[in-house]
Amino acid sequence: MSSKVALTGNEALAQAMRQINPDVVAAYPITPQTAMVQTFSQFVADGEVDTEYVTVESEHSAMSATVGASAAGARAMTATAANGLALMWEVLYIASGTRLPIVMPVVNRALSGPINIHCDHSDAMGARDSGWIQLYAENAQEAYDNAIQALRISEHKDVMLPTMVNLDGFITSHAVESLEILADSDVKEFIGEYKAEHHLLDSKNPIAVGPLDLQDFYFEHKMQQSIAMENSKEVILEVAKEYKELSGREYEFFEEYKLDDAEIGIVALNSTAGTAKGAVDNLREQGVKAGLLKIRVYRPFPGEEIAEVLKSLKAVAVLDRAESFSTNGGPVFGDIRSILYNIKADVEVVNYIYGLGGRDIKVGEIESVYRDLEEIIDSGNVKNRVSHLGVRE
């Protein structure tokens, strides 16, 4: 039996971690993730889980200890945010390159400097090419559901890649929401027992992990990673299907909100998608054919599938909660525009960088983006390919 509970996003993820009952968690507290690992460490202290909790002195050590535990055959998890993720950087690549199925919630927060602790996606977007699968969540329910599914995706034999479970700092991590959590026994059954094919504690079959890998084989190992990322697409859908049977909640690569007959659309990730749904509803009442595409799976990038949906629109705005400083727009914009070019779609795509450092994004601002799209269609002109939404001059 699942139960309806009122929890913050951090508490919901701590509950997911309790139900997953990892063999090892090595984590370092950082705002806005702190409450997640703090709550989980209480579960450890109270004996509610069997987890070996390693208190480390930094995120570099947190990810290193998690890598070590995973290489030893443990189901290992950690969690972080912002500068913590940045400090893990080199070890992120070691985790994915060594094909360790680590699952890590990332509470999205701006990277310093200047120092800021509030929500944007500069942390996770910087890590988008680190070989980790990236899932994004509109609210605490989705973050919880993604965390449970992430175990199955990462540990699938055709994948064996780590996964970041992203949720918005403060907006999702600290707001109390009503959500359903599964029964402990259902989660246990769903994720099953993790049995690593090869691990360091298997004394009968000794292996070496992380040896020098130079010109002669490194490229082949990267190719394997690339294929695993491709394989993960099918696994993500399979796991979602099975999860729907268990939970009744449906997940795909992305969610289409009122896109069927839409002429203009917005692409967004995480909590802003919820705000955008409000804007879509308002505009629909006024007869505007507006829709939303909310990306759940950003790595691997379901390019063909997204292009198939967006190609029927007349104009699309991509909302990026991260600056790439490329002077050509944000990271999601680059990906979306590129896939539409592949199919030579006749749809204008513009970019809005917004919400940096936790700057609030309001329904009215998103409505103004849709109005801009209407103007692009009417005039046939794009005045600003890339705009910064909500910044003061």
């Binding site: 992380g210 084989f217 190992h221 394997q224």
Partner: protein, 94 residues
């Protein structure tokens, strides 16, 4: 066993080496510029060279240090010659 030239479809994932003790197959002797040569007439069989060699290349059989050094794996670091108390080991240019 992985062979040179193997492709991504056949090699283990993530750079794993799925067997133990295989460093033996990696001949590091080619790195050497000078090789140790042991003069058995001077050798007092103290085994310091044997104990200090980082590559297990000084061989000992039945309690006697052999002048048959494992040149497949000796990198020519010269530690053995440095440690020898009776100067029985000379580093000779390859």
């Amino acid at each position: 066993m992985i062979k040179p030239g193997d492709g991504y479809k056949s090699i283990p994932k993530g750079g794993l080496i799925l067997e133990g003790g295989n460093a033996k197959r990696y001949n590091t002797g080619g790195w050497r510029t000078k090789k140790p040569v042991l003069d058995k007439d001077r050798c007092i069989n103290c085994h310091l060279c044997w104990a200090f060699c980082p590559d297990v290349s000084i061989l000992s059989k039945d309690g006697v240090v052999s002048d048959q050094i494992d040149y497949d794996h000796c990198k020519g670091c010269g530690i053995c010659a440095n440690e020898c108390p009776v100067n029985a080991i000379e580093m000779v240019k390859e």
